[in-house]
Symmetry: C2
Subunit: 318 residues, 2 copies
Amino acid sequence: MTFERPLTEHPILIQEVGMRDGLQSAGSFIETDDKVSLIDQLSSLGLKKIEVTSFVSPKAVPLLADAEVVLSKIQRNPDVVYTALIPNARGLERALQTELDEVNVVMSVSEAHNLANLRMRCSESLEQFRIITRDSGSLRVNGTLATAFGCPFTGPVDSSEVLDWGRRYLDLGIDSLTIADTIGAATPGQVYSVATAFIQAFPGIELTLHLHNTRGLGIANALAGIAAGITRFDASLGGIGGCPYAPGATGNVCTEDLVHALIFDGYSCKVLLPELIEVVNALDVLLPGSLTGLVRTSGLRDRVHSMSEGLQSMLESV
Amino acid sequence: MTFERPLTEHPILIQEVGMRDGLQSAGSFIETDDKVSLIDQLSSLGLKKIEVTSFVSPKAVPLLADAEVVLSKIQRNPDVVYTALIPNARGLERALQTELDEVNVVMSVSEAHNLANLRMRCSESLEQFRIITRDSGSLRVNGTLATAFGCPFTGPVDSSEVLDWGRRYLDLGIDSLTIADTIGAATPGQVYSVATAFIQAFPGIELTLHLHNTRGLGIANALAGIAAGITRFDASLGGIGGCPYAPGATGNVCTEDLVHALIFDGYSCKVLLPELIEVVNALDVLLPGSLTGLVRTSGLRDRVHSMSEGLQSMLESV
């Protein structure tokens, strides 16, 4: 058996989704100015993309009802792609009134989950995407394939069907794809196999893995994705986010834990880790008790504790 | 770049250490009969080894002061190896008065950590091991190399020194080795490289990886160990245990999360997962609030939620 360290000459790019995927289910409304402050801090940390908010019905997701205001107030860093989730053409209309680099359209490849989550059949979502790509103008469109590794209602998802949906997205003119483990059901072998299939099927297309840590496999799945050749990962600071179908479970793979793992395991990742942890500390003040990330409390792996005087003198004595 | 799925024809063996590494720092004393009940339940679940307790000074570790009583009361399954930790020859004397298959001697390869943890220099620990292997009779002796991936006081640990200590252990007559990431500092690449070196240096010697999830890398590290050829892993039910030098951090890699990952990622692992989760639920009653394992609350990855009638009828309508 051989094993090649899945090192890559390409830097691993981290895309922060906590402001959308995390705050949409954060339990309490984060004040608009606090959101703006967090996003402004995140903008200087080497993150490739920030999903700022979501243009969904404020009735459905009241915690992100301030989407337009947040987008009007943040400071932009030209090295960061600012994106927002839209579920339908109505979302695009709102997004076009704001300053954005990209919209992120989302559909669950599982019909049951798409109905439960978006109240649309997959065919209806695709029709929305057709309108969106037609009307998006210069705005990039990223397409997310949700429940790509499993559906909470109907279970297993056929990888070849996920690939077919990816092809349909691209045929509509969607620019890039996100393969999403919405409910944290993916395993490393599955991630490796699906990622490999996507890379082979769609050479040159920007691919992102969106992982959740619901069952403790978030980082292992990310490493499997890197081994397959994926270089872009969504992650959520503090590990916020969640899954309505996995009560008590953690959310998205945690940005600072993932960045820590990558940096110390020898990958090229340009995110500024200590500064990122400062932002997570600021978030922790706003969302007390709900952060699941580990590195923030444990310290980095190279943390050295000072020795007591007694220990020091024992160590130095012959 | 190639990647071979690190499947192995050998089953992956799980060794439960929660009753020792977890309960020694559990915060409150678990009643002896409750310990016995937990161990008896664990004995029928397909675990290869159970570390029942520790023969350390009851003053140093009062939560395990009932070591002899626990060992006198448990029911033994002949397929399970029952082991207990001993730090010194005094521990062996106590262990020999009980019915055990193995003792587990431990030393930190970092002088500073060994002094802090055991109040002995490494040379003194090794002298104890010499006495222990001489006097252990028919008892197997496993030797743990603690802080093999990093020391909380002095930082990096040279892998070749860890290997040297392993050789000294074996030269004394120690039967098997455990490479321990005591403070959860290991990364997958490091685990792969150290595990490979041990397998090459000590062919035929039983090797265990003892991992902590302090920084979220427990399962990723286990998979890296499997890729290198390791088939034995310590784990702790509920993820109990901890690290005094990583406050707020989680403990050992969680047994049920690891077993879940292995089973659903296609490895051969004979541990009965639903029954194991029942034992964790029983532990949770005894240690409320301190369990960090995720699968117990999220459910297994193939968990299917029932659809509401409304969703069902939407799905069925044309």
